[in-house]
Assembly symmetry: C2
Homo-oligomer: 696 residues x 2
């Protein structure tokens, strides 16, 4: 409703942008956009983008818009290789005329108008938005529309009326467990802008590091960071950089647990005796702040006050997750306090702590956001819950009147496929049954890049391109959910993201080169063939399957660190097998492609093994290479059997499935992705006559 | 002799590093070093490089060495993925102990001691050098030695005694025709350091741009650069950056020709009437300074004085090439001056100009270097000639007592293969017959990256990896010249160069993605298969074959701009054909590989054509794709014929060779590299029974 009113105020004929959800009308070609817009009306023809291309701003103006315009032009030049003027036109005339109505808030707020309308005709284009936030989103859409065509670079004729489904669309990066330098943060913010995310949640303190300069308590970063921290000036620059891209920066200072690094310089905050050292391992640890110590609140008052000035956002994340309570249990003074104040258990003690901290945050003009655990009885209704537990937890909070965002299902470190993340919806499960008013309390979600197993080198490849699928989940209408469409668009958006400076694709080759050393080109090709169908183990099995207990000093130079979290080659092979097995008549083209792939896998091992003899890092995957060869052989045997059109003997099936079972087991912390697809071929062969034998 | 004295002074037993040229002893494994050292004595075993690795400096110390040590550690960490302390040890103890005797000159001079000795044992390593220059070279050698092994990262046990063959080993980058930003310059300087080049020759002024801020004459850069110039502060930083890597920076201000951009702000310097505009085309143009105008010398006195302070190097390049004399011929005042002063022709007029400018350069404490043309009768003996004309010109100069460096044969923009550049030696041709004293005047050489057809995006790929081969030519002993050895090492060094930030390999995929747009993965693979065997046209044919007259506004987004200048796939195919054709008995493994490759080429076109229909930039190479398919078919037909063991009919041969002739012709400014190799197969087939038919 608000949206329509706004459109009307812009004087636009609303009828011409009929609410056509992007995926529902058969005649509407799916544009290579990610996230897909709310409403798209495709026309005929296209707007040429050549060296005469220009943009002009009309209406409200501010330096941020000028910079956005220059960034847009630079990116468009990069994306086309064309040379055009890299400054917006001053005449009010341009190929793309951009009209912004008025300023957005000085400090970006949750739920500001981010809508825009983009009209592309064969002669020109118009972008209209209420605020610079919408303008910047519209510019990103235009960049995605421009593609090479038979006649040059062009954008298709289209009218897009777009606004986000959720007002809170975030990416969290943990730069505490492994420090992530600012240039890496910046290029990820560029990536967020490209896919219309609007919250950068910065996880800044952990057992393993306190990453922000404190002038008030310098021992925090001096003793708690191994000299790897951000200065306040750097943070201010980063906040400005994000604001320039319509992105809020929400800092997280995790407390009362996850805080060992604080205690290295300030053991007096802790519940245990200390001394404390920066934690080098991963997991949940005992150290926690002492909720019964008034000095802790004085300290936090100072620190939150200081950080509230460094981070202008209205929200302040206090963490609050995973306190195991052991230090509390072991401290007689804390036990005495609990008894004296009628605090029955550790959960109640944490609630007491959260309540005190929440008041401090409020005192400094901010609203608390925290993980599920901060939601305890009596906490004021204005706090925001970030749910790592799931939709049920979120729905429960919403029913109680609390706003929340979903992160369960969006943990990028768990190695899920883009499709699996994409299928998770903040409004599904218990949340689907909320009242409209309660649903409004679900503000959106955040993907989370926890950093046990990422470093500055490979973090991009752990975030992208899958994060673009999550961004679409948060932006596009709920009914946009076709996982097939997403992969074609992801492939396209993924290359464009690399043009922004992200390294998620290129880093894999670099890292494989490191472990291949002076491999011959043929050996290196063999390593890539293997690596292309491997994925790291999923969920929390990485730690369980580790050859030695991993720490922050463990090198990340192994194949498991180098391969992408989702194997394109594995997925495409699986799709081909499905198509072949499901075909009603024999698909000889598909069979030929399967044979070629399976033969390549079968023969790859012979090329790889000499390299494995020379490199300990390749040696680690020598077994996976043999498994892949076995998959190749088994798959070819299955195709042979299918070609005969007779069911295979049970003994044959059992023998083949044994090799599949071996291939399915994780080794070197790596999964061999084609194993289930080859199993399907064997089962089809065993069933006989399935998938259209080549004999009539 | 000097070298031996130095070794002696270091107290080293010279006998243990017998002068064993790296390539001559069969027992000596060729190390993956580029450039190859002067003397290498390999031992048994290796030094482990693990997370305990450290370095320590002893002897002379300076901040530059500390920085070099930190850079070395950072690079080694990057190259291994290991986490070790990134600061040199302060204890004097380390895995690698580095001893430097004394400082090098504050302003690096030609012919300073750059030698070093590197001893690697199974327990530790020692690097010894007279000066930081040698130390830095030795660190680069150590970085190249470290490779992955069966037991971890390691450096082989070896003693290397090394010094350069030539004291002047340069790379020239033209950042005047296309502006090259400083980050690109810096990463190329990193690359130079890695391959032990020591002169960055910066071509800074041209008809198309004057790229340096002048405070004295600001109209030079304000009106002559399209706002694309380096400030003096930036230049000072760059000079410091280069000095930190043992690299001199020699600026070139080209005069009296190649100077249109100067005249935009200062038409009074020119011989014509003006007005002048920044030149947008390529070639040799008429504008030239007026050698008869005293104001010109006053101006140059000021400017050279200003620039002499910005660039501390002892040498100052005044260009001097390619003056066509047309403005001089057309100017009555100049003609009158020549008559009055007995100047017989334009060559003599340029000699007069050069002499005057040479005196100004000398006045400001610098020595002149210039292109061949500056060598005219009576020029003082201390100038240095940079020869674009060749060894004969260089030898002639040496005989007259002039020092010189060779650039003929090292023009990177001509698209020669690494092997072809590598075969060019400054001491070959006429230079081979010089006396020892005359030979000493040949200081080395410079590769030249002229910038008509490069921009910041693809310039790395036009310099590297071929420049590493040229660097070896300048550093390693003359007898090191095996072109086979170079390609294996180039492949290795090329990936390492990308770890420094150079983009010569990765950029090709980025650029192909741009022109492929939303291609499917299979279509994109087809484009890469084609691109992998294409090279841009060679020498000066790029301009002649251009579809329209190229200018500085011509986009560089075509396939010709994206593909590397040397096709690895094409070279490897050629080697395989040579091996197959030369074999005395039928090599069925080679035949199978040839068949697989030829089949892939034959079938690639069907996948590419749909993409060509959708992209005008792929459409341009649709014909090349058809030619490649024809090569595939012809090659397969030749293999079939060879398998029969009977000579083919003449008509067959003629028909096949016709398709080769079509493939050999440049199209879309691209050469199809496998064409000559397929021709060899056809000729072998026509000859019959050659290369071992499969029948006995």
């Amino acid at each position: 409703m608000v949206q329509n009113a706004r459109l009307h105020s812009l004087g636009i004929l609303v009828l011409c942008v009929l609410s056509v959800p992007a995926m529902t009308t058969a005649q509407q070609p799916v544009l290579n956009l990610m996230p897909l817009p709310a409403n798209t009306q495709s026309g005929t023809g296209s707007l040429a983008v050549d060296s005469s291309f220009s943009i002009a701003f009309t209406g409200y103006s501010e330096p941020r818009l000028e910079r956005a315009g220059e960034r847009f032009l630079k990116q468009l030049a990069h994306q086309t290789g064309l040379l055009f003027a890299l400054k917006p036109s001053k005449t009010g005339k341009g190929t793309l005329v951009i009209q912004t109505d008025h300023a957005s808030k000085e400090i970006q707020e949750v739920g500001e108008d981010e809508s825009y309308i983009l009209d592309v005709s064969t002669a020109s284009a118009r972008l209209r938005a209420s605020t610079p936030l919408g303008t910047m989103h519209g510019l990103q859409t235009f960049l995605q529309l421009v593609d090479v065509s038979a006649n040059g670079f062009a954008a298709p004729v289209v009218t897009i009326q777009d606004q986000p489904r959720f007002p809170w669309r975030g990416l969290m990066i943990d730069s505490a467990r492994h420090f992530i330098p600012l240039d890496v943060i910046r290029r990820n913010i560029d990536g967020m802008e490209a896919v219309k995310m609007n919250v950068f949640h910065w996880h800044l303190s952990e057992n393993q590091g306190f990453r922000v300069e404190s002038k008030k308590y310098p021992k925090l970063h001096e003793l708690g960071s191994d000299a790897l921290y951000y200065t306040q000036d750097e943070i201010r620059d980063l906040v400005a950089y994000a604001r320039d891209r319509g992105i809020r920066v929400v800092p997280e200072f995790d407390m009362p647990g996850h805080s060992t690094a604080w205690f290295v310089g300030h053991p007096e905050l802790a519940s245990g005796k200390g001394p404390y050292a920066i934690e080098r391992k991963w997991g949940i640890f005992d150290p926690a702040m002492d909720p019964t110590n008034e000095k802790v609140y004085k300290f936090l008052d100072d620190l939150i006050g200081e950080m509230a000035r460094v981070f202008p956002d209205h929200y302040f994340h206090i963490g609050g997750d995973e306190v195991n309570g052991k230090e509390w249990d072991a401290n007689p003074k804390i036990q005495a306090f609990m008894k004296a104040h009628g605090i029955k258990n550790n959960e109640a003690l944490q609630a007491y702590f959260s309540g005190r901290v929440q008041k401090l945050v409020t005192k400094h003009g901010k609203t608390v956001i925290g993980w599920d655990e901060v939601l305890v009885e009596g906490v004021p209704k204005d706090i925001v819950i970030q749910s790592w537990r799931g939709q049920a937890s979120l729905a429960k909070a919403a029913k109680q009147g609390y706003r929340g965002i979903l992160s369960n299902g969006y943990y990028l470190d768990l190695g899920w496929s883009a499709a699996r993340h994409y299928a998770v919806d903040p409004m599904s499960g218990d949340a689907a049954n909320l009242s409209p008013q309660e649903k409004q309390r679900i503000l959106g979600g955040e993907s989370c890049m926890w950093a046990e197993y990422v470093n500055p080198e490979n973090v991009d490849s752990r975030i992208w391109p899958r994060n673009a699928a999550i961004a679409e989940r948060f932006w596009s209408p709920q009914e946009v959910r076709d996982p097939v469409s997403i992969y074609a668009r992801l492939d396209f958006v993924s290359s464009r993201l690399e043009w922004l400076g992200l390294t998620h694709r290129s880093v894999s080759r670099h890292m494989l080169q490191r472990l291949a050393g002076s491999a011959s080109p043929a050996e290196f090709a063999a390593l890539r063939t293997l690596a292309d169908v491997l994925e790291p183990v999923k969920d929390y099995t990485r730690e369980q399957t580790a050859p030695a207990e991993p720490t922050s000093a463990t090198p990340m130079n192994r194949v498991v660190d180098a391969v992408p979290l989702e194997s394109d080659a594995g997925r495409l092979f699986g799709e081909l097998v499905d198509q072949f097995v499901a075909a009603s008549s024999h698909d000889s083209a598909a069979e030929a492609r399967l044979r070629a792939q399976l033969t390549a896998w079968r023969d790859n091992d012979a090329m790889l093994q000499p390299l494995a003899q020379r490199s300990f890092l390749v040696q680690e995957v020598a077994g996976r290479s043999q498994d892949l060869a076995a998959l190749g052989s088994a798959g070819l045997a299955a195709l042979d059997t299918i070609a005969k059109g007779q069911p295979a003997a049970d003994s044959w099936k059992a023998q083949q499935l044994a090799s599949i079972d071996a291939a399915k087991k994780p080794k070197a912390q790596l999964l061999l992705i084609p194993a289930p697809a080859v199993q399907k071929l064997i089962e089809a062969a065993a069933a006989g006559g399935g998938c259209g034998s080549s004999k009539p």
